[in-house]
Symmetry: C2
Subunit: 294 residues, 2 copies
Amino acid sequence: MTKQQLADKTKQIEETIYQYLPKAEGEQKPVIEAMNYSVLAGGKRLRPMLMKEVFDMFGGEGKVIEPFMTAIEMIHTYSLVHDDLPAMDNDEYRRGKKTTWAQFDECTAILAGDGLLNFAFETALQAETENNPYLVKALRILAKKAGIYGMIGGQTADIEAEKPESNVNGEKLLFIHEHKTAALIQASMMIGAVLAGASDEEITKIEKCAYNIGIAFQIQDDILDVTSTLEVLGKPIGSDEKNNKKTYVSIYGLEKSKEDVKRLSEEAIAILASFGKRNLFLEELVEQLINREK
Amino acid sequence: MTKQQLADKTKQIEETIYQYLPKAEGEQKPVIEAMNYSVLAGGKRLRPMLMKEVFDMFGGEGKVIEPFMTAIEMIHTYSLVHDDLPAMDNDEYRRGKKTTWAQFDECTAILAGDGLLNFAFETALQAETENNPYLVKALRILAKKAGIYGMIGGQTADIEAEKPESNVNGEKLLFIHEHKTAALIQASMMIGAVLAGASDEEITKIEKCAYNIGIAFQIQDDILDVTSTLEVLGKPIGSDEKNNKKTYVSIYGLEKSKEDVKRLSEEAIAILASFGKRNLFLEELVEQLINREK
């Protein structure tokens, strides 16, 4: 896949999502402005892209997927808005732009995060489908993978892991990666499958595939922090070691980390290739995502 | 209705809700402890009580209402947890107990609020019903009334109204009361009706009735701040005037405020009494709620 192809796909995703953003008007204007600022601030749009590609692979048709693409991006965005708050990571910049609390204020950023999480469900609930069981099934996946048994659970464990007294072993690190990162990727891909009418067996395979993608992505992150350069990565390397942060590499070593990324990504692609209809763009996307150099 | 009857009903509601709380275990333990602390901290359980009574009035049967009773209380609770944060109202105590951020820390309170909002949808989505259209309809009401076009919108307007440059008139004050307070009462009562299979016409009447209850409740709040005593109210009176806060009484005067409470509550009770089957406990509850002395 060329850079242009990926850029075109990303643009399509953004055009779809932006249609579902609330209008910044009325008494709610301050919170809606902050919500939309956060969503429009950019990003790879990876989750809605994976969702749409899996939906296409299983022969999904119509607009039912669009509100869910928007919902998953809103949930991802709210998690960043709240993570960046002074009481959490205290980050003033993200992707070269001011974070929501730095651009507006803390109070507005808390409300905007709440607004995005709530509006994600509100939007997904508007999905037009005559097949309500699919809708409810997709919503249940969304809620579970975003909540305390998914992303919020991962965020909780991550915060605990940063405390000086914590003892992070491989098992705990995997819990964090599985919940903080893989859970929303699982939700994205599973919902794409559910709304296209995939079977339970296929959905279970997609869940496993998305797990591998999420974990491999995070291990690759840890690897790049050791092996890359400032020039390639665009941010300082060695930051994990400097911050005394336990990573997959510091626990298992570089060699095993590389082997695991290879194994996890090969398994993920093998699962994708095992379905009746293949989606070569999706396979390439996963390949690039995991084996990226920055 | 006697005090004992109300206390018994409240206890029943709490026993129901507590069954649906997540177990504080695993890596998620810190966030779940804070979530449950917040829910267990008490309160009148007004919203789930109204929901259940309307459900009963329309002849609703079975446990389908329970997850929604839990969900509405969780949403109400998360809104308090986030409102109490230092960046918002900066309150250390509520109902004589430490607020969530004061008991744990800011970071945990932000996550616990997010966790409660998400878990509210997760719980409601577990409601067992063979009639999926009712489930989706109830979820849509929940999401809308809790979000930017409901409670979060009201909270946004309230924060704006507290800024020195704001000019709060009667219309703006009504917007705040309608969204910040009435919206969740509407959700509670409408969902009770929807899940009992009420008609669209009945649901519209219930929405109007709940609007009246919410607004009258808030006006009564403003009246008591002027007319009550420290002994009866259990908190200092005159605090609105002291804080230069525009209230219904300061805008419309005491007499019109009292008239409006009377009119709104009579209308609300008349609507409740207009349905085929009456629920006298509900009518008395509304009567007491609005005409309370503290």
